[in-house]
């Protein structure tokens, strides 16, 4: 049981959102294959506040809640990922998509596991991660989700919005 004291929370007037810049996204330990190390420019998720305490305590021992290394104030279930490249970079959007694909997959998997392990909560419409990519002043927004319309296999799709 995590030790949550009055000092553990952000003040009740603060946001439930938090972000991290260039931190290593770690995959589920059950994923056997060693995946490339990726540190997205920025990811945004939730932080434990008084308002979220009850929900956090009800799931923290059932599922992984954070894709980052353990710490006292974890970033929970990130849902927004940003990746930027210089206008002069040789990498086009296809490269930015490839570079960020596996971290996004990791974030979707966290949400997917939460959904599967807490079926008592209605968690439609399902895992969703927003991906904002920009190259200089050109930018693209992707909605990233798990495809359940197609054949039964785990597929993550990034759809440009």
């Amino acid at each position: 049981m995590p030790e949550l004291t009055s000092d553990s929370y952000a003040p009740s007037t603060s946001s439930i959102f938090e972000d991290r810049a260039q931190e290593l996204v770690m995959h589920d330990p059950l994923v056997q294959v060693k995946l490339p190390r990726k540190e997205p420019d920025r990811i945004v998720g939730l932080q434990v506040t008084r308002e979220l305490e009850g929900d956090y305590l009800s799931v923290y021992d059932k599922v992984r809640c954070s894709p980052l290394r353990d710490c006292d104030e974890p970033l929970l279930f990130p849902f927004l990922i940003l990746e930027a490249k210089s206008e002069k970079s040789p990498n086009g959007f296809s490269d930015i998509e490839a570079q960020t694909a596996l971290p996004i997959w990791a974030l979707l998997k966290l949400q997917q596991d939460l959904q599967e392990k807490t079926p008592e909560h209605n968690s439609r419409p399902g895992p969703l991660v927003w991906f904002l990519a920009n190259r200089g002043e050109n930018w693209r927004l992707y909605g990233c989700y798990v495809d359940t319309d197609g054949p039964k296999r785990y597929v993550s799709e990034f759809s440009r919005i």
Binding site: S15, V44, A101, W105, S156, F158, I161
Partner: protein, 108 residues
């Protein structure tokens, strides 16, 4: 990125069933179609038409703040460029300012 490792990365991505689909609203998944449609509409929102004096919606005050903020960010971006900062410099500053409002908005 070295060609070999880039090829390996793309192979791995394919192996894990990850793919990028074009922006075609007809192909959006049923589960997320409504959400994507709402976001997609924003693409066509013109600044001048957003929150005019004729706006009688209950969210007028919030929309007015949003419009002011958009103008502020636009002016800030222009100012940063005039300072001839490096791309890393202006992007880091601006990104923090774009996200700051979002990250510090109190829980309602």
């Amino acid at each position: 990125m070295a060609p070999d490792s880039d090829r390996d990365l793309r192979r791995l991505i394919k192996r894990y069933g990850i793919r990028v689909v074009p922006a075609n609203p007809d192909d959006w998944p049923s589960l997320h179609r409504n959400t994507f449609n709402e976001i997609h509409k924003i693409k066509y929102q013109q600044f001048d038409n957003y929150c005019t004096e004729d706006d009688t919606s209950e969210e007028y005050s919030l929309r007015k703040q949003t419009k002011y903020r958009a103008k502020f960010l636009s002016m800030r971006a222009r100012s940063l460029l005039r300072q001839q900062r490096t791309e890393a410099g202006w992007r880091f500053t601006l990104e923090n300012e774009v996200l700051q409002n979002f990250l510090t908005e109190p829980v309602r």
